[in-house]
């Protein structure tokens, strides 16, 4: 699809390309934040690193083979965005270490692809000076050519190449335009001996001011015309950041997400559930009536399918997150919410990691690397798991669909179920606020780093990028169902038929798991939970979704509830107080091994994850206890 374009070379004579001299092995992608490095990385490698329309999405280095351009021999390293070679934050340190060959385990790059946003050349070129001074062969890629042209900007790549002493090309990574220059450059960079002929005049002192002066001189000498401001962005911001409409729209967007998850998602997942149940029943008929059938149908299938049915709702949630991230609205949301963040003493930079924790706490905790202040970073890590991640969605929707009537308000626009869901999200958020406030007024008291937020231009999310996100998310979810959840349900099943007496399986309550459940029941009884919920809670320490799988298996094996669906079975077995206490427990509890592991990795100690686990479980227990006792007395 790419149209042909050429590299603007600084020198007239381009050396012929002798065969067999290419020694390029490792290519580094570098550039300022949000200039499209990861989009280009994904284009060149066919991989799928996370991309979105805000600065600081990439916080680690990622490597991939450049398969998409037929160069599997070359390794491309995607790096976090940097403004200069100064390293104030963790993510910038990673980028500079890799670039200068100081990162253990990563080979020193043989050449560099410097990606710059062509719509802001004065500013973006400032990075060119320090990158050139590293001395590696460098191709300057001016990205977002489509936006530059659409808004009447002009850049003379040939003049710029002469001025910089490095080849320059105009590309659009998002649309795949102009990318054929990259293999061409790599071929030449490998063959050309280091001629030391760079006539480029770099600023002597590489301070921001001198780089800036240099960049401005370069752009004015090469007659760069910066594009006009996007009228769309201005007009949209006039509404979306409006004094009154701004916050209202923000609220409406959030409510709409939950409403859609229920009004569109629920019927879809009910349909999927019916389909999976009947498929399981039909498949079971093909098997002889023995222990294998019991294992497959009652154990594994019941467990796994009760999680699988939430696929439509998870996908809908991620569709919304994708639209918000790719359009650029997220940065505006950060601006609107900053007042709240500041009142609890949190850095504005904490907002984006916290927002991404609504998908999953693991990438959110990694994204805290953009926070320079160590104490604030730890505070953000501590509160991120309170944000309602997508793994809580299955248990939330299961309980809400089973216990909350489908009542509508305001002429059917807002439903009670969506409001309860919103309440649970709010609950997690409030817990995060309270925790942050507590940390701030005690151990974490520190000078605050300032809030500096770039507002990217609005862009239309492309269907392609959204469907890729959904595909990846769907795959991840199915993979989890097929591995972790399958394994835990298998374990639960085995423990619920053992010990075997005279060739007969134990009854559920006499089994290992039944006895374990009854043993812990006194602890959770005041919360309104029975022993099955208790086993569910224990198993969900692995991952939150697991509880649904475990409950599916346990209720599927119990002769009393065998024929009922999971929702109906739960309605028969626990009270309203217990049910609401259960979701409240999940709003607060740290039921996620992956999060604990990543906190351990990011902080280099088990102290923080252990503290986090105990604190969150403690809060969850007390909150669930209060919830159950209050509801029991009210209803």
């Amino acid at each position: 699809m790419s149209c042909h374009s050429t590299i603007a070379e600084p020198f007239e004579e381009t050396a012929p390309v002798p065969a067999g001299t290419a020694r390029m092995r490792t290519v580094a992608l570098i550039g300022p934040p949000n200039c499209g490095k990861s989009t280009l990385f994904n284009r060149l490698t066919g991989m799928r690193q996370k991309v979105a329309n805000y600065p600081g999405v990439t916080v680690e280095h990622h490597s991939g083979k450049m398969k998409s351009i037929g160069r599997s021999d070359l390794t491309l390293i995607d790096l976090p965005g940097i403004y200069s070679l100064a390293t104030y934050s963790e993510d910038a340190r990673v980028a500079v270490d890799v670039l200068t060959g100081k990162m253990p385990g990563v080979p020193k790059p043989d050449c560099v692809l410097l990606v710059l946003d062509s719509t802001h050349m004065n500013r973006q070129l400032m990075l060119a000076a320090p990158v050139f001074s590293i001395g590696l062969p460098t191709l300057v890629l001016l990205n977002m050519s489509d936006q530059l042209e659409a808004r009447g900007g002009k850049v003379d790549t040939l003049a710029l190449a002469r001025e910089l002493g490095h080849p320059v090309a105009l590309i659009s990574a998002a649309h795949g335009i102009g990318l054929d220059v990259i293999p061409e450059f790599l071929l030449r960079a490998g063959s050309r001996p280091n001629d030391g002929l760079r006539p480029v005049q770099l600023p002597v002192l590489q301070s921001a001011a001198s780089c800036r002066t240099w960049a401005t001189q370069v752009t004015s000498r090469t007659k760069y015309q910066s594009p006009t401001a996007s009228m769309w962005t201005r007009r949209l911001d006039g509404v979306l950041l409006h004094r009154i409409f701004g916050p209202l729209i923000f609220l409406a967007v959030v409510i709409a997400v939950f409403q859609v998850v229920f009004t569109i998602g629920q019927p879809l997942s009910d349909g999927l559930g019916a389909l999976l149940t009947s498929a399981g029943a039909k498949a079971a008929l093909l098997l002889p009536d023995n222990w294998l059938r019991a294992l497959l149908r009652d154990g594994l299938w019941n467990g796994v399918q009760s999680v699988l049915v939430f696929l439509p709702q998870i996908l809908l949630l991620f569709l919304f997150i994708g639209i918000l991230e790719d359009s650029g609205y997220l940065a505006r949301a950060a601006l609107i919410a900053d007042r709240v963040m500041r009142s609890i003493g949190l850095n504005g930079k904490a907002f984006i990691p916290l927002l991404s924790a609504y998908a999953c706490a693991v990438p959110a905790i990694m994204a805290t690397r953009t926070i320079e202040n160590k104490r604030e970073r730890i505070a953000t890590i501590l509160i991120a798991p309170f944000m309602t991640c997508s793994a809580r969605l299955p248990i939330y929707t299961l309980i809400i669909a089973a216990f909350i009537p489908n009542q509508k308000f305001l002429g059917g626009v807002i439903g009670l179920r969506a409001m309860v869901m919103l309440g649970l999200y709010l609950l997690g958020f409030l817990a995060a606020l309270a925790t942050a406030k507590m940390l701030n007024s005690s151990v974490m008291k520190a000078v605050q780093a300032p809030f500096i937020l770039e507002l990217p231009q609005y862009r239309w999310p492309t269907i392609g990028s959204l469907s890729l996100r959904l595909y990846d998310r769907g795959k991840l979810f199915l993979k989890k169902a097929g591995t972790v959840i399958l394994a835990v349900t298998f374990l639960v099943w085995v423990m619920s038929v053992l010990p075997i007496h005279g060739g007969q399986f134990s009854s559920l309550s006499a089994s290992v798991i039944g006895r374990l459940g009854h043993w812990i029941e006194p602890v959770i009884r005041p919360l309104g939970f029975n022993w099955k919920i208790g086993i569910g809670l224990l198993s969900s320490i692995v991952a939150r979704e697991v509880i649904v799988g475990t409950l599916g298996t346990l209720y599927g094996m119990d002769p009393a509830t065998h024929a009922l669906g999971l929702q109906t079975a739960l309605r028969h077995d626990i009270t309203l107080g217990g049910a609401i206490a259960l979701v409240v427990f999940f709003a607060f509890a740290m039921q996620c091994t992956s999060t604990l592991v990543v906190v351990r990795r990011e902080t280099n100690s088990w102290k923080l994850p252990a503290l986090q686990f105990l604190y969150m479980t403690g809060v969850a227990y007390v909150a669930a206890l209060v919830t159950n006792q209050v509801i029991m007395r009210l209803f």
């Binding site: 300022p32 104030y88 921001a208 950041l241 940065a331 601006l335 900053d338 300032p450 500096i452």
Partner: protein
């Protein structure tokens, strides 16, 4: 020409950055966003709560809290200043 803090300039006014009085770490970051003496700057809008405000500097929109903007100074363009009056 008046020099005043960015946080005191009215929304809609246009000027040129005069100086940035912030710790190195912060001013360096700001400099890479364009906050350097001589760069033209426009006070674009305020967030719904009034703070942070959005500045347009050299074609880029940047949100800053007033507590930070208080330490950045600008010289208003005289024509823009007259218009504001």
């Amino acid at each position: 020409m008046d020099v005043l803090a960015l946080s005191d300039a009215k929304v809609g006014s246009v000027g040129v950055v005069d100086r940035v009085d912030l710790p190195d770490e912060v001013s360096d970051y700001l400099a890479h966003l364009g906050f350097l003496p001589g760069t033209s700057i426009e006070i674009l809008r305020r967030a719904p709560a009034g703070d942070p405000r959005v500045y347009r500097i050299d074609g880029v929109e940047v949100g800053l809290r007033n507590e930070t903007a208080r330490h950045i100074f600008l010289r208003l363009n005289s024509d823009a200043a007259n218009e504001a009056k």
